[in-house]
């Protein structure tokens, strides 16, 4: 079964994730004390291989990421991913930069899980609120490796190879930290998502026909 989202549904999904990520970035800004820059979100319906390729495009190095599964009427995963060379710098930024390297290394795992938790949970909670549905979120899990590691997580997808891949680049310029916030949704969720988006659009813009066809 193939479900194709309409232009307006895709717009609504992008805007919703945009709001979620922007709010979460404001929390990260509080943690690191420096502005977090964000790109405009990109949403694509792609095969897992294409998603891996997108993620691997600019990265020669291995990646490190924090991963959370969300479940409810829609199911998928949210990821905070960056080159593993930047991971200690991010921990340093959050802990205030006073700690010796050994302690930063010791704290790395816990700090990454917490950063991921704040960003991903913040983003998903905003989305759940906007959809007026409860999403159950797993505990954050740290992953390391090549881009493929991030797209072949268990449980395996039960519905083919196509995923909804949504990502936003983030950067903390003063610290030379950059990465992605990505969401992956399996296709069986898309039909459910379409219903939820329809309700969301009705609540947000109810009665307002789009006035023109720009964008």
């Amino acid at each position: 079964m193939t479900t194709v989202l309409t232009e307006l549904e895709l717009d609504a999904l992008t805007e919703m994730v945009n709001i979620g990520v922007n709010r979460a970035a404001a929390s990260l800004r509080e943690m690191v004390g420096e502005q977090v820059l964000l790109s405009v979100p990109k949403v694509t319906l792609v095969s897992r291989d294409q998603a891996i390729a997108t993620l691997g495009e600019n990265e020669i190095t291995n990646l490190v990421g924090v991963h959370q599964v969300f479940e409810g009427e829609i199911t998928g995963r949210a990821l905070l991913i960056f080159p593993d060379t930047k991971s200690l710098e991010l921990v340093r930024a959050v802990t205030g930069g006073e700690l010796p390297l050994e302690e930063i290394i010791e704290l790395e795992h816990e700090a990454l899980a917490e950063i991921g938790n704040i960003i991903l949970n913040g983003c998903l909670a905003t989305i759940a609120n906007m959809l007026q549905r409860n999403l159950k979120m797993s505990l954050p899990e740290i992953l390391r490796g090549e881009p493929s590691v991030f797209f072949n997580l268990k449980p395996p997808p039960d519905a083919g190879d196509v995923v909804m891949f949504l990502y936003i680049n983030f950067a903390i310029r003063q610290r030379d930290i950059r990465g992605y916030i990505a969401m992956l949704m399996d296709i069986p969720s898309l039909a459910a998502l379409q219903v939820l988006l329809g309700e969301f659009i009705e609540r947000t813009a109810g009665g307002m026909a789009p006035s023109n066809d720009r964008s």
Binding site: D11, E15, N22, A26, V36, R214
Partner: protein
Amino acid sequence: MKYRILVVDDSKLARMAVAKALSALHPDWVRLEAANADEALALARTDSFDLAILDFNMPGRDGLQLAAELLALKPTLPLAVISANHQVEVVTRAREVGATFLQKPLTEKAMGDFLADAAKRLATAAP
């Protein structure tokens, strides 16, 4: 007074949300829409409007850059920049540029406050 309001957002849904709030608050006001900074500036040259609501996070130039460009053309234009990104730097830049910062998702209350303030400024500025 019936005013003309420019709404700039790359998301059609976001423009519809502004339209919904506007039609509840001031159904007689006229809305002009643009999906990015270039379209907005083109409109500014060919059309007239009294106030503007700009999205911050857009492809190309962001809403704060656009705000500065619009204010260069119309220094007294009441302006709001709208974003879920309430980072100190963004809110501060909005204030520095002379724009009101409105949070996404937009509430009718926040929109109403901005419109009331803008209408007051426009009424006092009118000859």
